[in-house]
C-alpha cells in the first residue's frame, strides 16, 4: 500500500529550481533511500514534504490525503516525523523532556508522556542520561535523541536526514540497527544518506536526485549499475 505519493513536486527559490518535477511513491513498511550529490535538493524535498516549505508546484499525498500546504505541526499530527540534518536538540531541556515534547503531540498527560519518553529512550539506548541537559550530549547521542523524539510522536512515516553524518563506524552501525529495528515494527522510513554502503544495505528502493531533478529510481542493485548515477554521483569505484 502506498503511504506517501509525490506528484510533480517543484520548489523554486526565485529563479533557482531546487526541486523540479519530482514524482515517486513510498510503499508502507519499506525503507526508501534518497541520495544525490550536495545541492541536489534532498533536504529541500524533505522540507517540502514536512510542510516547512510550501511546494511551488505539484501535490503531496500522505495516506491518500492531500497535505500540500499544511503546516509542519499538522503534518506531524497526521503521523509523519522528521529529523534534522543539523541536529536540533532543545539544549536547555533535559534529555527526558526533549522526548516528552514529542510524546505530548499525542497526549495531554505529562505522566503518560513521561512513560512514552522513557520507553523510547530505552529503544535508542540513552535511558541512563535522562536528566542530563540535551546540550551536554555528544553528537552520536544527539542523533539518537532526535530519533527517540520523533518515535515518541508515534509516527507512521519517518524522514531521517543524514542521521549517520559525522558519526564513526560503530556509532553508524548502532543507527543502522536502530533503523532496521524500526522497520521490523512496520514503520516506513525515508533516509537521506551519503554513506553508500549503509544506504545500499538498508534501502528497499533508492531515489537519486541530481541538480533538483529525479535522476533514477530503483532497487539498490539497479542504482549501483545505472550509468547515469555512476557518472553523476557514485563514481567508478562503486560500479
Amino acid at each position: 500500500m502506498t503511504i506517501l505519493e509525490l506528484k510533480n513536486v517543484s520548489k523554486f527559490f526565485g529563479g533557482l529550481a531546487a526541486n523540479t518535477d519530482i514524482s515517486f511513491s513510498l510503499e508502507e513498511g519499506k525503507i526508501i533511500g534518497l541520495i544525490g550529490p550536495n545541492g541536489a535538493g534532498k533536504t529541500t524535498l524533505f522540507n517540502c514534504i514536512t510542510g516547512f516549505y510550501p511546494p511551488s508546484q505539484g501535490q503531496i499525498l500522505f495516506k491518500k490525503q492531500n497535505i500540500t500546504g499544511l503546516q509542519p505541526h499538522q503534518i506531524c499530527r497526521l503521523g509523519m516525523a522528521r529529523t534534522w540534518q543539523k541536529v536540533r536538540p532543545l539544549v536547555k531541556m533535559s534529555v527526558l523532556d526533549n522526548v516528552m515534547v514529542g510524546a505530548l503531540c499525542r497526549t495531554n498527560s505529562l505522566k503518560i508522556a513521561r512513560e512514552i519518553a522513557m520507553e523510547q529512550l530505552k529503544v535508542v539506548h540513552i535511558e541512563h542520561k535522562t536528566n542530563m541537559p540535551a546540550g551536554g550530549l555528544p553528537i552520536g547521542e544527539r542523533k539518537r535523541l532526535e530519533i527517540a523524539r520523533i518515535l515518541a510522536t508515534n509516527p507512521e512515516l519517518l524522514l531521517l536526514d543524514e542521521v549517520m553524518g559525522g558519526l564513526n563506524t560503530s556509532e553508524s552501525e548502532e543507527i543502522i540497527q536502530l533503523i532496521l529495528e524500526t522497520k521490523s515494527r512496520g514503520l516506513t522510513q525515508m533516509v537521506i544518506e551519503h554513506d553508500m554502503k549503509a544506504i545500499m544495505r538498508i534501502s528497499d528502493r533508492i531515489v537519486v536526485l541530481n541538480s533538483g531533478e529525479k535522476l533514477a529510481e530503483g532497487t539498490p542493485a539497479e542504482i549501483a549499475d545505472n550509468q547515469e548515477v555512476i557518472d553523476a554521483y557514485l563514481g567508478e569505484s562503486h560500479a
Partner: protein
C-alpha cells in the same frame, strides 16, 4: 568537566512531595509577609514593599512570554498602559470602581495583545523585539495625541477611589497603604502560582520547546502561532492587572509614566537581572532592582560616602558628588545592569545557585 553539576542547576530533579522543611519555611515566610504591616508601620517601607510587589507581578508576567517562550517583547508597556488607562478612565469618566475596571482592562489588554501578536509573531528574533517596541510606541503616541479621550500629556489624576463594600459591610476605603499592600501581595502569590502551573503543564513544555528551537518544536507537532499567542495572552492579562494596580495606587497616570519604552525596559530588566525562565528569578530581580533604583534616586550613595568619612561633605569632590550623583542615577543603574549581564548571564539567581552548588561540590570531592 562540570556538565553533571550544570545539569543539576538548570534542571533540578522532578520534585516529589516538598519536604517538610520547605513547607514550614514557606508558611513562615507567608505569615511574615501577611503580618508585615502590623510589625512595620512606616509608610515608606510599605511603599517600597508595594513597589517590589508590583515589579514581581510585572516580571513574572513578562517571564511567561520572554522567559519560557523566548519571545523577548520590549513592548510590555503597551499592556501595562492599557490596563492603567482603561481602569483609570472608567473610574474617572464613568464612575466604574477599579475592582470592576480591572477586568475590563484585562479584556482590552487581551484584544490589544492579539492585535499586536498577529503582526509581531510573524517575525523572529531581533525583528520581533523591534516590532514589539514599535507596537508599544504606537499606543503611547495614540494616548499622547488623542487628547479628548486620554487627556494627552496632562494625564489622568484620580480624584477619589470609591470604597470597597461587600453588601453593607465596608471592607476598605483605600485611605491607607494597607489595602494596596494586601492586594499587591495576593497578586504576587497569584502570578507565582500561575507561573508554577504553566511550568508544570503541557503548555510549559510546548512554550519551552518553542524557546529552545522554533523549527524543531514545529516539527514535533507544536502549533507555534497558537502557543505564542496563548503565552502572550497570559502575559498581557497579568501585566494589565499590574497596570490597573499601579494606576489606582499612584493615583496619576500619563503616557510617559505607564506607556514609555522606559517602562518596557524596566519590566525586561527585572527578569534579566533575576534570572530568565525560572519561577523565582523575577522575585530576586525585583528585590534587587527596586531598592537599588530607590537608593540611587534619593542620593543614598553620596550620603553613605559622607557618613563613612570617605569623602568630606564640604570638599570639592563631596560637593560634586552631592550635586551630580542623584542626577546620574540612571547612568549608575545602567552600569550596574551591564555588569550583572556580563558576569551573571543566568541572572543573580542562576549565579547564586551555581556558586552554592560549586562550593558543595568541592566540599564533596
Amino acid at each position: 568537566m562540570n556538565s553533571p553539576a550544570k545539569s543539576a542547576i538548570t534542571k533540578p530533579p522532578k520534585s516529589k512531595a516538598p519536604p517538610v522543611t520547605y513547607l514550614l519555611a514557606t508558611v513562615a515566610l507567608l505569615s511574615l509577609l501577611f503580618a508585615f504591616p502590623q510589625i512595620v508601620d512606616s509608610p515608606y517601607t510599605l511603599h517600597m514593599m508595594i513597589l517590589i510587589f508590583l515589579s514581581i507581578i510585572l516580571g513574572e508576567s513578562w517571564n511567561i512570554l520572554g522567559g519560557y517562550t523566548g519571545q523577548y517583547s520590549v513592548g510590555h508597556a503597551a499592556y501595562f498602559g492599557t490596563g492603567a488607562y482603561t481602569t483609570m478612565m472608567l473610574m474617572q469618566y464613568a464612575q466604574v470602581p477599579p475592582w470592576l475596571g480591572v477586568w475590563v482592562g484585562v479584556a482590552v489588554a487581551i484584544i490589544v495583545a492579539l492585535a499586536i501578536g498577529s503582526i509581531c509573531f510573524r517575525l523572529r528574533g531581533p525583528y520581533f523585539v523591534l516590532a514589539s517596541i514599535a507596537a508599544a510606541e504606537i499606543i503611547r503616541l495614540t494616548a499622547l495625541n488623542v487628547k479628548s479621550f486620554t487627556n494627552g500629556a496632562e494625564g489622568i489624576l484620580a480624584t477619589d477611589i470609591p470604597p470597597l463594600k461587600l453588601g453593607a459591610i465596608l471592607i476598605t476605603d483605600f485611605s491607607s497603604k494597607l489595602p494596596f499592600y494586601y492586594t499587591g501581595l495576593i497578586l504576587v502569590l497569584l502570578t507565582i502560582l500561575m507561573t508554577w502551573l504553566v511550568q508544570h503543564s503541557k503548555l510549559g513544555y510546548c512554550l519551552q520547546a518553542i524557546r529552545e528551537d522554533q523549527d524543531a518544536a514545529h516539527s514535533l507537532g507544536i502549533n507555534l502561532t497558537l502557543h505564542k499567542n496563548i503565552a502572550l495572552i497570559i502575559s498581557a492579562a497579568f501585566t494589565s492587572t499590574a497596570g490597573s494596580f499601579y494606576a489606582v495606587y499612584i493615583g496619576f497616570i500619563d503616557p510617559t509614566s505607564v506607556l514609555s519604552l522606559d517602562m518596557s525596559v524596566q519590566i525586561v530588566l527585572i527578569c534579566i537581572i533575576g534570572g530568565i525562565g525560572t519561577i523565582f528569578g523575577p522575585v530576586a530581580g525585583a528585590i534587587i532592582l527596586v531598592p537599588l533604583s530607590e537608593a540611587l534616586r534619593s542620593n543614598m550613595i553620596a550620603q553613605g560616602l559622607f557618613k563613612a568619612g570617605l569623602v568630606g561633605e564640604e570638599s570639592s569632590i563631596g560637593i560634586f558628588l552631592k550635586d551630580n550623583l542623584a542626577h546620574s542615577h540612571v547612568l549608575i543603574y545602567g552600569i550596574l545592569v551591564v555588569v550583572v549581564i556580563l558576569f551573571m548571564p543566568e541572572g543573580v539567581l542562576g549565579f547564586i545557585s551555581k556558586f552554592v552548588h560549586g562550593k558543595t561540590r568541592r566540599g564533596v570531592s
